[in-house]
């Protein structure tokens, strides 16, 4: 058995959420260990669509819209810091994003949804607009005849999320973080001055712990008096061959990567812990994509894959701290790319302190503790 190690903070989970927090903490001089699973882990960080997205987030929880906008506003500086520290360019761009509608009914539904979102009490204000087909054509001349309009938000962007994960890992290790692969946490034992983590790779001791294990948080949270009601939600993605840049704005379901591939994504399925690709879903995704941008029909598909989102009942993140085990924190969300800037530069300094500030109170899992209807 490996010797126990001493760390200020142990972050459980080495995906985008865990590594953003670890990088942020390590930059502040905190001694961090990241406990990760191995190559076979369900890892949304390697299967996501890489949007840094604002429009449409937060209907039902205005603080989530504000939190999302804050991360989007911080992303350019975050990307610049990562590049300065690691030499890796995560290809962040913020040209404004589109949600295309293929019928008048879809356009009306989208308009109504955004009106309800922005009419909420305490909603953070930001620019967004509905575009008729003619205005949309000036942004996106390649649209197909069925496209009737779109919603547009200038804050939306995207990045290279695989390089983001690599940059965070490079950066956190340069700042002294200990990365421990194949350390699956089996038990968490509170002890004097911190926690002992019993893992498949041996025991690790740390003063504080941050649960950032995605769907694994559901199993880990009760060990420290927390609750993580999350479930896997499958999303599928199609990737085409690389082509010359033409798609200047990311669309909710279609974007062109910095290296030229077209990604088609954003499907939603309840399938448990099953990350198999299904032909029915990808054919529907491909059909809608070709109706939106007919020239995609001439491209070769080179890959498709599925990954599992980490989803709560209401779709919003959980940021929480344990009352019974002080020093135990939890983070879980399905937007590890969009929220990476906040996790690294806003949340990490909060975790260094003793307790989460009141502004994160709306994100506590206590919001799910409501009596069942009689």
């Amino acid at each position: 058995m490996a010797p126990a190690r001493e760390h200020d903070v142990a972050v459980i989970g080495g995906g985008l959420v865990g590594s953003a927090i670890a990088w942020g903490l390590a930059r502040l001089g905190v001694r961090v260990a990241v406990l990760d699973e191995g190559d076979v882990a369900f890892r949304a960080s390697r299967g996501n669509f890489a949007l840094v997205w604002v429009q449409s987030k937060g209907l039902g929880m205005a603080p989530y819209a504000a939190w999302t906008k804050r991360s989007s506003d911080g992303w350019a500086g975050f990307a610049a810091l990562l590049r300065d520290e690691t030499g890796l360019d995560v290809a962040f761009q913020r040209p404004g994003g589109l949600h295309l509608c293929l019928s008048e009914a879809e356009l009306a539904t989208r308009h109504g949804f955004l009106m309800r979102l922005h009419n909420q009490p305490d909603m953070v204000p930001y620019a967004h607009e509905m575009l008729e087909r003619r205005a949309l054509e000036t942004l996106l001349p390649e649209i197909g005849p069925e496209v009737v309009g779109a919603s547009f938000c200038p804050l939306d962007g995207h990045c290279n999320s695989l390089r983001l994960l690599r940059a965070l890992h490079t950066g956190m290790q340069r700042n002294g973080t200990t990365y421990l692969a194949n350390h699956i946490v089996e038990r968490i034992v509170p002890e004097a001055g911190g926690f002992r983590l019993e893992t498949s790779g041996g025991a690790v001791r740390a003063g504080k712990i941050v649960l950032a294990a995605g769907n694994g948080n559901a199993r880990l949270a009760p060990m420290v008096g927390l609750a993580a009601p999350v479930r896997p939600q499958r999303g599928q993605i199609i990737a085409t061959e690389r082509v010359q840049p033409f798609l200047n704005h990311p669309i909710t379901t279609i974007r062109q990567t910095d290296e030229g591939s077209i990604l088609i994504g954003d499907s939603v399925e309840e399938a448990g812990f099953d990350d198999a690709v299904g032909l029915g879903v990808v054919s529907t995704m491909a059909d809608r994509a070709v109706r939106m941008l007919p020239l995609l029909g001439r491209l070769n598909v080179v890959r498709s894959w599925a990954a599992l989102r980490v989803m709560t009942q209401d779709g919003f993140p959980i940021y929480d701290q344990s009352a019974s085990c002080p020093g135990a924190f939890m983070t879980t969300c399905h937007s590890g790319v969009t929220l990476a800037a906040n996790h690294a530069l806003v949340l990490a300094p909060m975790l260094r302190d003793t307790a989460l500030p009141a502004e994160l109170a709306p994100f506590s899992a206590k919001r799910f503790d409501v009596p069942a209807a009689a």
Binding site: E142, E241, R242, V243, Q244, F246, E259, G260, I262, P294, L295, L296, R298, L299, N300
Partner: protein, 98 residues
């Protein structure tokens, strides 16, 4: 680099490669015809622009991509030559065009 086996029964077929007539034989794959004509680089890669040519000759490696009769990124080893066929080599990223 490549030499044909003698096969007196095979009929001659002419295709064009980047506008230049190239002699092939009926039954050749486009990739075989390119190699027999001494054309070993048929594309450059989309990101690094490194040269690539037919390699596996059986549809697996995807290194022999060329445009055939206007359709880009066809696998040259999986398409047989036809009289008058237009083959174009590819350079870097192709264009997405209707």
């Amino acid at each position: 680099m490549f030499r044909r086996l003698p096969d007196p029964a095979a009929a001659g077929v002419t295709i064009s490669v980047d506008g230049t007539p190239v002699a092939a034989r009926a039954g050749d794959s486009v990739a075989a015809a390119l190699l027999a004509a001494g054309i070993v680089v048929c594309r450059t890669t989309p990101v690094g622009e490194a040269p690539r040519g037919p390699y596996c000759m059986m549809g697996v490696c995807f290194d022999c991509l060329v445009a055939i009769d206007g359709m880009a990124s066809r696998q040259a080893c999986l398409v047989r030559v036809r009289a008058g066929m237009r083959v174009e080599t590819q350079h870097g990223k192709r264009r997405a065009a209707p």
